[in-house]
Amino acid sequence: MASIGRRGFVKGATAGALAFVVGGVEVIMAAHEARARGVPFRLLDAHQGETLEALGETLVPQAREAGIAHFIDQQLSVPPGESLLQARIFSFRPPFAEFYRAAIVAVDAGSNRMSGRDFAQLTTGDQRAFVNLMRQNKVEGWTGRPGAQVYAVLRADAVDVVYGTMEGYEALGIPYMPHIPPEKRW
């Protein structure tokens, strides 16, 4: 796995953004900026990124634009002890990438059984219907971690990128009131 040192990590933290690699150079920016600039994924392939964006958007509107796939991808590339992913709170055993890869495979398999297409290719309505079944462990033939757990983790990731930032608080009208603010609003 790619790795950034603690110094680089802390630099990102105090700058309120993450360390992405652009043209071989480490650049500190927020996940939504990385998506807008088309920063290549470090670990995810294009299909995985597309699927995470579709799942994220289904779970929490605006998660795609907020850079959920870039956030997850960047966080999978740092040592688990420095990870900010919800997988850490769910007490998953590193490497966390295994969870996301397996989840995407399970989602696509279920989606293909139900509708003959990968999840990202479903209509918005079908994506919602699928996620609703997944959260209740009702997708037939599902393998791997329970669908409800996949729902919970990805939903939490999406909540992070949409609502967990200073911009997210502002959108809800909640005063952020930080002791030590994440600069650049995250």
């Binding site: 289904t58 007490s91 055993r93 919602r128 909640i174 002791h179």
Partner: protein
């Protein structure tokens, strides 16, 4: 590499280890703390749910099994200060009945000590760290003690709005005691009430060990070695004494730290793991484990959460993560006709966006977006912590899978029994009645899987090696210079948040160690 021998090596720089370090360093002992996670500065404590995960558990995972796996990561610690670096700092105490479970109810175990043995240490911890609250108001339920050194914290509408509902249900609420500053105390500032306690308080208003005991310990000469992972406790050839610990340093180099006394203060799941992994030919089942009880009687608190949506803006972004109000009204073990065990009732706490989203975990998509807008203004919650009875089946054991240092991982198996499930349900039903009487327009229980909070047990205290691992001070029954500290020595759980008791028992144990030093080093 073998380091110069010290008087005391403490494994873990969290709540209990920091107290031992402070007391013993001030007593003139040469103290080294070994902490598996990083060291933190207060300036590392960024006010962000996302960045706040840096101070949550990492490293070798505990494998979780059972019908109710112990989900520890949101509340657990990582690094110097441990979980207390970012705890909620609710400081209720155990009550006399908790120490007499077997005598009064023929369940679980009696503690080998009484409430009165611990009470002076509650008072001392309150003075030393700073506690805000109204002791007199609590004393309708407990024996009298000293007043808290600071007045209660401010309350906010997200707490006050529940009082009518509690009163209607015959539950008296009083200001909650918390390890936070309502006013400036011992050079630390008063709280700002912006609700970021759970990711660490960088101004020091929250009594985390970095600004209390560890600061004192360092000033007295204690050394803290971060990123140092202990894998074994070492013994002499006869197996009669511990001689130090083996650990891996920040460069992953194997080291030995010799010491006259070893204190394990590494959290309830890790203390048993270390003892079990330190087996020798003289201690084939692990150190201090002649009884076979190391790793047994793991306990948790279940939490019954009730949410209410109110017509008015309840300012739920204001306050602390600690609660504003509490009650021991349902603390007697037989308070509920249909369930056994203590309940600790709380109300009023700040929420962040993660909490808002988790309060309706079933919602997603546009429905979640709509809900978040309403909840941001109108949502408030109450929580009742419930007691779980100790059971042998809830346990920590080693598995063949190993961590990066070659140490077997710990597996924690946890299942609530019928008593716990019944009590959780009774508390949820009570919560809905309170919410209705409080005037909530919508109210609901947080159902689904039963939450687990506050891991306890695993190296329980008792009267002898036949029924326990350590005595009431935390001293091993079998090896006199091996001590264990923290919630792992609790033989029953009560329903009160445990950290105040952890501090108090650690203070008591450390003072005992200092006073008996000559007997430990001979």
């Amino acid at each position: 590499m073998t380091n110069e021998k010290v008087d005391v090596v403490i494994v873990g720089a969290g709540a209990s280890g920091s107290v031992y370090a402070s007391v013993l360093a001030k007593a003139g002992k040469k103290v080294v703390l070994l902490e598996t996670g990083p060291d933190w500065e207060l300036t590392d404590l960024i006010s962000s749910e996302i960045w706040g995960r840096r101070v949550k558990p990492a490293g070798a995972p505990v494998l979780l099994e059972g019908k109710n796996p112990m989900t520890y990561s949101a509340q657990g610690g990582w690094g110097v200060g441990g979980a207390a670096l970012h705890y909620f700092a609710n400081f209720p105490r155990l009550l006399p009945t908790d120490f007499r479970m077997k005598s009064e109810h023929d369940r679980g175990s009696d503690w080998p000590i009484a409430y009165e043995d611990v009470a002076p240490f509650y008072d001392k911890v309150a003075r030393d760290t700073g506690v805000s609250g109204d002791a007199k108001a609590e004393e309708k339920w407990r024996p009298a003690g000293e007043a808290y050194p600071m007045p209660p914290m401010k309350t906010f509408r997200n707490g006050d709005i529940w009082l009518k509902g509690f009163e209607a249900n015959g539950i008296r609420m009083v200001p909650a005691p918390v390890g936070m500053n309502s006013v400036e105390y011992q050079g630390r500032p008063a709280c700002l009430y912006d609700g970021w306690c759970h990711v660490g308080c960088p101004i020091g208003a929250l009594a985390n060990p970095q600004v209390t005991y560890l600061g004192n310990a360092r000033s007295a000469g204690a050394e803290v070695r971060a990123l140092s992972t202990v894998t074994r406790v070492l013994t002499n050839p006869a197996g009669t004494r511990v001689t130090g610990v083996e650990y891996y340093d920040d460069k992953h180099q194997k080291q030995v730290q010799e010491a006259s006394v070893v204190v394990l203060a590494a959290w309830s799941a890790q203390n048993p793991r270390l003892l079990l992994n330190s087996a020798t030919d003289k201690h084939a089942k692990g150190l201090g484990n002649a009884s076979g009880l190391v790793g047994k009687f793991m306990m948790s608190h279940h939490v019954a959460s009730t949410w209410g949506m109110f017509d008015e803006d309840v300012q739920n972004h204001m306050g602390t993560i600690a609660v504003q109000y509490m009650s021991y009204e349902h603390y007697p073990k037989t308070s509920h006709a249909t369930a056994f065990g203590s309940s600790f009732v709380t109300a009023g706490f700040a929420v962040k966006t993660t909490d808002l989203a988790n309060s309706r975990a079933d919602l997603f998509g546009p429905e979640l977006a709509d809900y978040m807008k309403r909840a941001a203004r109108n949502l408030a919650g109450i929580k009742t912590f419930g007691e779980e009875q100790p059971r042998m089946e809830n346990r920590v054991e080693l598995v063949s899978d190993k961590d990066e240092f070659g140490m077997p991982l710990g597996k924690l198996t946890h299942t609530y029994d019928e008593d716990a499930v019944a009590l959780w349900n009774a508390n949820l039903e009570q919560g809905l009645k309170v919410a209705k009487a409080a005037g909530a327009k919508e109210s609901w229980s947080a159902r689904g899987s039963i939450p687990t909070s506050h891991l306890m047990g695993g190296t329980i205290m008792g009267t002898g090696a036949a029924n326990s691992v350590v005595d009431s001070y935390g001293q091993s029954h079998e090896i006199p210079n091996l001590w264990v500290a923290g919630p792992s020595i609790f033989p029953t759980a009560g329903a009160s948040n445990p950290t105040f008791t952890i501090f108090a028992l650690s203070q008591r144990g450390a003072e005992r160690m200092a006073s008996q030093w000559g007997t430990l080093t001979n």
